[in-house]
Symmetry: D3
Subunit: 254 residues, 6 copies
């Protein structure tokens, strides 16, 4: 089974980190192929960043489809382009926020999200509402750490302490039973935090890969009826024409 | 007061139709400047179409800001890029679905949306939920008419009859007190439908222009605290680099 | 265009303050006519006060209709009698809480309300829920200042400081991006607070006048289908008979 | 125990019907005192009617308090003036819609409301939402019968058949387990409908009287902390001055 | 009227306390029969405890039915087995959490729950959501006191002080107008707390008995249409066979 | 990895069917151990049936824990005893309704449930609400087929046609993009229905096994903080004493 993990930003360090996670969690028989985006911002921390990341992200999904991917993971906690990616894919496509939140509700009655900058809080709350978990998610908490600074969080004691302290506060003040890490860049902190906090600490990248494996293993693919039907072919002009998938994909999706 | 109306698709006919609406509804002293997108699909009927429309749409918003626009209207019923556009703008930015739904709740206890293809129904329902109007919106109804076909709806009796009949059904079956038209391309049918149905029939384009006028007139601008703060400047690579606004805009937004 | 602003309490000072706001925000071509109530309590701070204010308020709406008003504003933050006033009016009728909350969601992702006495908090929360903004409104906060004391808030430094401090707390603790002022009597503080806090501070009176202008300008009137249909004529006995509008109005509404 | 049942309209026939119900359901030791309103419309079918009914209704509540009532029932399905009446009362005050809906959720998993005119449907739905029963209430259905016509429903076979048929449809189409009758004027049909339909058919008048008995019997009174605290004494001018309760009541409520 | 109060745990002290409450609140003509469970845990503080309590609880309900009970109260704040008990009963069956929460919303705009161990908080919140009272219930608070320790709460000053202090905090911090006591074992503290706090303090046991009296008095029984229909007779094996009610009951329920 | 699939009813045919599904979907390296309950009803179609199934179900979970199970599946669509089972388990525990509904939201924007008897509809709707999927689940539909009759559904053309027709109606009338099968007994129809309907048709048993594999594979276990902490040891009397797990389990869970 081929699962493509798309890094929708253009940070090579993040792509490398994703590859390490994929190697670690993929089941025997699963190939986790990480693909970085060739075009867009080097980190995604605003709706504007997300918009510029989408064409590159969707091109990567289309390329993965052509190469026979059985499923995809969008490795950014804002779950950018999730519906559009599902329109382009046959197999399941999961966002890492979506995957982490679903998993959290399966192993704990309540959870808190610990994320990066304050400005991403409201966006995470919108995802919580969209997926249906307003009752289970007790609070979304910011650490004030930018995405790219997380590159060093595993080796920088002060950064790690800030994240760890916010997790402790989440358990003490929110009454939560699990922690969802709010950025793909925190993936390598997950085990250590989990050992210390003694509650499930959930990294969306790992869990998204495993959930795609599970859905594919259960024979499930993305519904092509309704919203996720393949987009209709139409004229695209200007720079965006380069991001239109070849007709062969549309044919395969029909 | 300058209000920029952005057509996020690349259909020249739609841009012309928007210009006609803007001329008709703008108050004395308001200049409604319509700008089409230079890059992207010629109509927006899927999440994928929307993703490819975003860079061109946001570039248009940034250009409008540079030219001194006091507010913006995004003239596509899916309200694409609304949060990102707000990050780039000083003045108010309204989507036409948002504007039409808000207006509907102010003149009727309940409303129905009458839109284009079946596949856009779930997307409209997501907007209804996102804006908070699940109790007021009784139903979203599709006519099965593609966006570009609406170019001729005012002169094509069969098309008009199909839309009109769906509106009648909405009043009879949903118990709604108003109709929201689910596409910018229906703007020129609004008055005629309203005269026949004798309930408020709401075209988002007209009402969005008037609501931006109202907000600007009340001295209100987009909050730069929280989600809608200007995006942080960062490295953008590949084709997307062309869509990054100049540093001057970031400075003006700070 | 004639917009009638009804002061549903009998405080002459409040009526004068409303007239000043109306003069300030009305567009060229709009006449903002303020009408105080001739019967009822001098301020509205309880459901009982509101009940006694309704007959006078509705009589004022009916009088405005007779005089050709194109729309109405109910200038009390509890939005008293809104549905009943809509039954009596052809054009749009907006409450100032409704107007302010709608506007807040259009310029900020989240908002807090800063209001008068603690006992009005739950009533404001009910309006938040009724209009559909439970997700956007982060908190309703009381200052403990009675409505009539606000007459002096612009000139009384201690009062102003109390209101300003509560707004600061709202921004710091609630994570809100905008402030909604919870009383018509705070209208004259809006600009000063906005300048200091550097977020949108929203006075419902101003914004309601502008939104009525916008709706009328977009050709929208109150739906006469369903809940807001004109009330059926019927026998009314006792003191209330004096508050029944003349048959001519019912005829005009049909 | 004295329970005052207030008829907020001025129909003597309705007042008489309420007295019959009160006699029938009051426990030994309970005196059910029915009081009609001296001022207002003869039936309540619009928000305007409701507004004109409030002063008379609240005067009746205040009079009942002075006479030592231990609790009150507001016998109109729109639950007019409920919060205001609670401000004036020491003991519990129940609306008949509120009472019937609460009771329905205690004896069935789901219920439908069968009411009078189509225009009251949205108002009943607002009450459903306000009380928290959107999940349990499957549908609100209108029979198209005006309130005053119900005077004859027990003896008019055609009217009875219309109501009965709507109840049957509710059971068949809505999957409901109980029927809530949406008007005080249907109280005398309750037993007969219940016998035929073989599900709980709930008349709000009977059940509200019993629930007030229960709350008083459990030693519970209206909370005077927060929203339902006694209204503050203040200047009231014009015709409304006649509806202000004497200072003695405010004193008793403190 | 016979109302059976079932103690679903096997603590004799709790059963005795329930009998005292029943004697105190039952109306003349009501016999409140308390029945303890013969099989299960001596207190219910987890979902596992609740599961082991159910067979004994339901056997008690079936026995009460055979003895002619007109209604039942399930005297544990988790409302265990409520739907199953309704399937077995002709008359109304109320849980004490359900009864207390309904009563709270009838006498106050908002309430807080003060309960036992921290681990029961999420379970109480689920009941709040299930009954529809998420808007009215401001917070569920734990005292950290185990159920069986409550046996002595009336005479142990330190325990009482802890409960009382938590109630005070609820009023000060949550803005609530009433307190719901979150355990049958707190029934004997209700009057004293109410006298001190001067807001409604609601014991579910008392109020459930009174509400069952009210529903029976209004002629209402459990709906046998839909979810609460009598369970179909079927083969039951092993130890559970002893808990199957005799065919006579099924016959009576049909 | 050992995953225990518990059949909470005592039907041997159902247990055999579950074993076949487990063999089919388990990954290499996963042992799917099916365990039937030794005590309780032979099918679960009411809350009463569910209550009698719980002790046997929880005993099976405890036995699986003692034997080293890494996770559990509760193979009945009502997800009986889910919270209690989580209290007894170290690894993840999933109900099949929960698993199927989560999976549905990951591969389609909307879904319908097609289940057995009409009386189970409201119970499935409660699960939908509890898990947070009220927006995604468009409708729960009954086929009127009892659980045990499903034993023959694969070979009985009329039964199959009834189920298939209800699925077709769900797609046509509900606008759903996927079908969730509402009973473990439908597991063997899943592939055939999926082939015909050409949308994802989801059998909770298969998908629950795969999701437990995924969660265990991602290193996630049930949170022991909060609601799912091991139950406290306490006196249990009567027949239920036989269902208390040995102290060793409590020790292992601590």
């Amino acid at each position: 089974m081929i699962i493509q993990i798309v890094n929708p930003n253009t940070s090579a360090a993040m792509t490398a980190k994703l590859a390490a996670v994929a190697r670690q969690v993929a089941a025997p028989g699963t190939e986790g192929r990480v693909r970085g985006s060739a075009s867009g911002p080097e980190s995604i921390e605003s709706a504007f960043d997300e918009a510029l990341a989408l064409p590159g992200l969707l091109l990567a999904v289309a390329q993965g489809e052509r190469e026979g991917a059985h499923g995809h993971v969008i490795a950014c906690f804002g779950d950018p382009g999730l519906a559009a990616a599902r329109e382009l894919a046959r197999g399941p496509v999961l966002g890492i926020a979506e995957a982490a939140m679903h998993a959290a509700t399966l192993v704990a009655p309540t959870f808190s999200v610990v994320t990066t900058l304050e400005r991403t809080v409201a966006s995470a709350q919108r995802l919580v509402a969209h997926y249906g978990f307003e009752r289970q998610c007790r609070r979304v908490r910011a650490t004030g750490i930018p995405v790219l600074a997380l590159e060093h969080a595993a080796s920088d004691a002060a950064l790690y302490a800030r994240i760890s302290a916010e997790c402790e506060r989440a358990l003490a003040e929110d009454g939560s039973g699990a922690i969802v890490l709010g950025c793909a860049g925190m993936a390598d902190l997950c085990q250590r935090l989990s050992d210390t906090l003694r509650v499930p600490v959930i990294d969306g990248v790992s869990v998204a890969i495993k959930l795609v494996e599970a859905l594919v293993g259960a024979g499930l693919a993305t519904s092509k009826r309704g919203d996720y039907a393949a987009p209709e072919s139409k004229a695209v002009s200007g720079a965006m024409a380069a991001f239109v998938p070849p007709p062969a994909l549309a044919h395969a999706l029909a």
